[in-house]
Amino acid sequence: MTHTAPAPLLELKHICKTFNDTMSWRGRSSKGVQAVDDATLSLYPNETLGLVGETGSGKSTLGRIALRLIEPSSGCVRFEGQDITHLSARLMREKRQRMQMVFQDPYGSLDPRMSVDKLVSEPLIVHNIPAVQRQEKMHAALRQVGLDPSLAHRYPHEFSGGQRQRIGIARAMVLDPTLLVLDEPVSALDVSIQAQVLNLLHEIQARTRVSYLFIAHDLSVVRHISHRVAVMYLGRIVEIGTRDAIYTRPKHPYTVSLLSAVPIPDPDTERTRKRIPLIGEIGSANNTPSGCRFHPRCPRAREIAQQPHIAKQKVGVVDIPVLCATQDPALLGSDQEHACACHFPHDTL
């Protein structure tokens, strides 16, 4: 989006998060689940950054860390230029007016015993917005998401899934945030409703210049809405760049395989497309592979190991380049343009 970069709105620097990492008094430790492992990204004003990856890649954890709903084990979260990693709860609350979240499940995320006006006004009460302004702000938020304020006395069960997701968005937008973290906001919706919500998110961004951190596993949806895209694998960002860079010139073999697995709704193209199958399934985050974390599934590593001048070693029954099996690749390049964490990024299969 923005190439002459203004100051980033949100910066996540070297974020790590390990769950259940306990140390007993004798010094014996049980190794926890490393959900996020040294992830770094920036989000700019009025920008949408898509965060994609398989289940277990740590994308939701990273999204929640951005809002400090989960505390990182190490690393630094900066919002509006200020380090908020260790901000007190009281100061954090003030920040949260401008950083909000929309959840996946429009059924589970709204209290069934609260009417829509209560649900949408609740953030205003929490943030001590004077009572005289609340009604007006609540109505404006409902109108913004295309809901008739005259329906505000109704309860969530009286609305369809798409309308509930609009209520969730109204609740997040009522405080005029500058950052919205959306965790799979459309994946529970039917396709016809999904398009309505995606168009609504476009309109809201055009009007309010809010930034979206858009977490999703559907690569077609992410392409549609994002300016830049980050691809996560086992807690690490393995590729990040502009939408065009990621979708037309992917460098990381994981991104290439992911894209080749997305079916295209056209029988002629779809049946002639080359698919690059990944080997097996995403590994476990409590046992991250040595070297490049993707090497156990990487089709490219196996291909490269066939070349005569490459130093290789046996991993199980296959040959893998020594580099892939032993050294963790760094994310190289500009995250504004295109960066990739792979020892052999330019080779194509």
Partner: protein
């Protein structure tokens, strides 16, 4: 798919309704579908359009308050709707089998995967426990579970999502059914695993010649895997055609609207999505004429008054339930 292949499952004019004390709401109306051996029939439509219920009712496994109110379900000269429960039970599994959407709730958490497959085998076949276990290991190997000798004793929670879905497929094909109905088999799975599971289903279909019914909302999967497609809307089939005809020459405005509503990986980047206006209709209060009329971009005066019927628009089995099908143009 050759026209000469045998029609295995033939659903004719099936209607299904939910009954309670006060009301009798039709959920599926006059649905006719058939599937031939070796063929993949895709069923697409939104939630609540009746696509799953049609098959649950056809197999007699719909909830108790849901009744078949008309039509017949023919399988090898038997009308499944007329069979008594025990006769129907012997057909399920051996003749027609079903794979469900959510593999975690379809498996029993307190029994090992192997035990659950053995149970299916021994319920239908005269097998000893040891024979059934050997067969269970073969089945797990067939669906590409790594190290099946060891994994057969694992419990569902020890399997990943993709492996659970494979285990369910292993159970569904255990009795070598002639028709396999897969209800959103990959909705809960990641895209890479989804591709693997669907390749597996296609491979099994090719090897065994079984018919595959793929219930899905993902038009990309339909494009890749289906031979024919039926589109459901408000409890009816509104269009039915060979996959290429449906994608290239859709003849119902709802199908066209569905295509326009999905973001595609191969479309130009700034293509705006065109959502379908409004909500799907309430099945208890369906409008008089075409149920899609209130949301249709092509709506004309007669649409809201005249009953629609599924008619053959060509001689090549391209059916449409739109009065104005010659005016339906594919989205550009």
């Amino acid at each position: 798919m050759s026209e000469s292949s045998k029609v295995l499952l033939d659903i004719r004019h099936l209607s299904v309704a939910v009954r309670d004390a006060q009301s009798n709401t039709p959920l599926v109306r006059d649905v006719s579908l058939h599937v031939r051996s070796g063929e993949t029939l895709a069923i697409v439509g939104e939630s609540g359009s009746g696509k799953t219920l049609t098959f649950l009712a056809a197999l007699g496994i719909a909830p108790n308050n849901i009744k078949v109110t008309g039509g017949e379900v023919l399988f090898e000269n038997d009308d499944l709707t007329k069979l008594n429960p025990s006769e129907l039970r012997t057909r399920r599994g051996t003749a027609i089998s079903m794979v469900f959407q959510d593999p975690l709730s379809a498996l029993n958490p307190v029994f090992s995967i192997g035990t659950q497959i053995v149970e299916v085998l021994r319920a239908h076949l005269p097998m000893t426990r040891a024979q059934a276990r050997t067969r269970a290991i073969e089945l797990l190997e067939r669906v590409h579970i790594p190290d099946p000798h060891r994994r057969v004793d694992d419990y569902p929670h020890q399997f990943s999502g993709g492996m659970r879905q494979r285990a369910l497929i292993a159970m569904a094909i255990a009795l070598e059914p002639k028709v396999l109905i897969a209800d959103e088999p990959t909705t809960a799975l990641d895209v890479t695993v989804q591709a693997q599971v669907l390749e597996l289903l296609s491979q099994l279909r090719e090897e065994t010649g079984m018919a595959l019914v793929l219930i899905t909302h993902d038009l990309g999967l339909v494009a890749r895997h289906a031979d024919r497609v039926a589109v459901f809307y408000a409890g009816r089939v509104v269009e039915q055609a060979a996959v290429k005809d449906l994608f290239h020459k859709p003849r119902h405005p709802y199908t066209v609207s569905l295509f326009r509503t999905i973001p595609r990986l191969d479309s130009p980047v700034h293509t705006a999505l065109t959502p379908i206006v409004g909500q799907p209709p309430n099945l208890a209060q369906l409008p008089e004429g075409c149920p899609f009329a209130p949301r249709c971009y092509l709506v004309k005066a007669d649409c809201s008054s005249t009953q629609v019927k599924l008619i053959d628009t060509t001689d090549s089995e391209h059916l449409s339930a739109c009065h104005h099908w010659p005016e339906v143009h594919p989205g550009s």
